[in-house]
Symmetry: C4
Subunit: 265 residues, 4 copies
């Protein structure tokens, strides 16, 4: 029960997918979401999954929608550009095996519609107030490293990073299993407190736009981030509350007063 509802089938050639789901500093979500808006990308599919939270969001005060991941596309317009698929969404999977199942579903789908390479975007929370925030890279294989060496990506930070959790890492890992290429771009962020970090997202976008040979007006980023952040924080808060409610039965051991939070069902 992970379902992709397809609205239209874009004809893509040698496409590249940019993934930006919610995560550390929401850097991927912001960067990919900004691309969607600035490039006027067209939505062509929604993904729903039993591995997401069992709740619906309210949109425009009265309209409900299931939690979902969304697929957008933009066709190449100039030489040097490539057809793009953009993957954004409300949330990632709740459980470890759900992460694998949703990631496989996504890859099955985009492989079929012509995606040849993927770029996943995430954040690296350093916990430190570093003055210079780098963009750290990790790749599926040595040959792809060569291709991306010319950009200002730090490929020496692996030791410091160690591992990459969730969709950002798993999509790339499972994509590699299919003998496909990909790169992950991690924007360094303080990560404390956990808030959306537009600066780190901009750092990633700077490199990403060069890779994609596109030009994006960065001026609206701050404004858009504020709009997005409002929604993202809402989802986060709601997920935490919802999770508390779902697990309440198991956690609750007679303590009173905990249940005074506002909730619905």
């Amino acid at each position: 029960m992970t379902v992709i509802k397809v609205f239209s089938k874009p004809k893509l050639k040698n496409a590249i997918m940019i993934e930006g789901l919610p995560g550390v500093g929401n850097i991927g979500r912001v960067a990919a979401g900004y691309l969607v808006e600035e490039m006027k990308a067209k939505k062509f599919a929604d993904l729903y999954s039993k591995w997401f939270f069992p709740f619906v969001m309210l949109h425009k005060n009265y309209r409900i929608h299931l939690l979902k991941n969304e697929f957008y596309y933009v066709k190449a317009k100039k030489k040097g550009q490539r057809d793009l698929v953009l993957l954004v969404g409300d949330c990632q999977s709740l459980s470890p095996q759900g992460h694998y199942e949703v990631a496989e579903k996504i890859l099955d789908f985009v492989e079929k519609i012509g995606v040849k390479e993927i770029i996943t975007i995430g954040g690296l929370a350093t916990g430190e107030m570093e003055s210079k925030k780098k963009v750290i890279g990790a790749v599926t294989d040595d040959n792809i490293l060569k291709k991306y060496k010319k950009y200002k990506i730090d490929f020496e930070a692996g030791e410091k990073v160690g591992y990459i959790v969730g969709a950002v890492g798993l999509l790339l890992g499972l994509w590699k299993q299919r003998d496909k290429d990909g790169i992950c771009l991690l924007g360094q962020t303080t990560g404390f407190p956990i808030v959306t970090d537009p600066k780190a997202a901009e750092n990633v976008l700077d490199i990403l736009t060069k890779i994609l040979s596109i030009k994006i007006d960065m001026k609206k980023l701050d404004k858009k981030v504020k709009e997005m952040e409002y929604f993202i924080k809402k989802v986060e808060t709601l997920q935490k509350r919802a999770l508390m409610e779902i697990t309440k039965g198991t956690e609750e051991k007679g303590e009173k007063g905990e249940e005074q939070t506002r909730y619905i069902g």
Copy 2:
């Protein structure tokens, strides 16, 4: 292993399903349950699921039954009325993915037997002693909003509500995925302490009966609520106890004395 046992197949035309499973303030359970009794609805199917608690209830002191959700129906009797399916039950799913699976099973079933629209009923715990308790609405789409605008439903509270957890929200969200219409009615309730709120259920019933063009004698509601509440509270208490027992193994870390609660197995 979510199974629907069908006793009889009612012939329904353009039917509307009213969902009222246990939840906040048990508003859905009370409202739908009262409709079942007052309209002398006929039971035609039971749903069992491995996603429910692994225990049986005792009925009449000596007869056991599995936890279940029940389907009732009432045929339209007058012009302006519609055939009704009423969904009530002992419990909702234990786990997030179970919520999705049970909801899909329910929708598959009712879609086949002629249900065209659904109304889910829940509660909105405000945590405040509001004097006026409204009924808040959320819909699958704009066209259904128009249809329900004439009733005293607050469609402006989305911001405050944010999300709807469990069957109330998920049935509607997954129904929308099938390009079907539906509405959710949330009765405002203090939600503290968590008890059945017959007044909030009555507020929902006031609107619901108008929507359905039916007349229901509300006088017996208080009495019926007391009867239902006894059973509902029992299930709640039992679920909590049972959950503690099930998770005991994982939680228990040498603390003694915790195990003195009455239990069976």
Copy 3:
């Protein structure tokens, strides 16, 4: 991956299954296990499941075996007796959905080999030092109540009992779904501290032997209980330890010293 390994297919006629898996006071385990020994029942099948703990037990110091449930049978020898299937074992399922899946597997199997009725045995922990310990009964339907009314079974305790968790309840509940008959016998036990209660098991055996028209020498019960208890307690302790280890990763948050328990892997 719940598998029943069948060694031999007994020809059974109108058989009755007695279930006695570990549980409250280990009353079912002791009662059914004693029947297996005293009646020299023959083992004909083993059930293994991914829903059990992922570990093996050591038998005779050096031989390993997977956790399992075991099926034994005894053919009727005299008029008034019935062919018996006895279900005993090391453990029950770890998770709620596992409980449902294992129970369904068991019922599929025994229904095929000729079981017509089941008797599940469990304990009712009262938490009180009652002087008189009753045997409490719960049935699938009114017609089976009539049949068992003549035995000294308390069918009035439902209110007090409320619900029956795990295999004892679920086997009966799912059996009822197949329109089959069954009864559950719960031996009252103090339940504190949780130890094997041979007296409660004897109380159940007194009634059970009458139901089955068999005679069992009760003299060896105490001795056998001591032998069984040693093994049962070992499994319990091991399961708790193992569970702690399995969940250690999630629970562990920097506390040191907790890991000093003896363990293997």
Copy 4:
């Protein structure tokens, strides 16, 4: 979604599989890993599973790979030797049912390619500073005991051991279900603090090389252990951190400051 990616199909005759996945004292991982290196075993397959942690590791600072288990082989070179399959890897399953599913997948695979017997290697954490560290054995059946009696394996420790958790035990238990033979070798280790214990691994290797009629230069063990340990500890630390992040949503209840650890996503 437990997948074995096969690079080449070795022709094996009457092969024996040595399992050494991470576990207590990492004794199996070290012993089997050292055999892989010293015997210049060839890798022929990788196993990936949704039951592993949903993250990727970074290799050489910039190359990602999914968590995996790896299959190597060495052909017999002299009389008295047997074809070997060596199973090593990054991790074991996260969940109980995952343990069963991954183990079954492994056994299905190795049975098909000619493995007739398995030796699993683990550690027994005694919690005591024993001066003499034994190697404890457990077998699938009496006939295999006879075969291994001549080696310095303690087959009398079952009582003390009780049970064997995870792949070490489960592979053997499920293998026995297939009417196949196998033995488990547990190196005694203090187990506190939990670190890689090269001495215990050497004790197991001493016996294992005799069983396999091979000669291994033990001099490089300490050096290799240091290399391996660095990686193993990293994975352990990462898994714990990752697990905390994954479960953070459920655990987190308003405590601040906990989230200051360095993480990515």
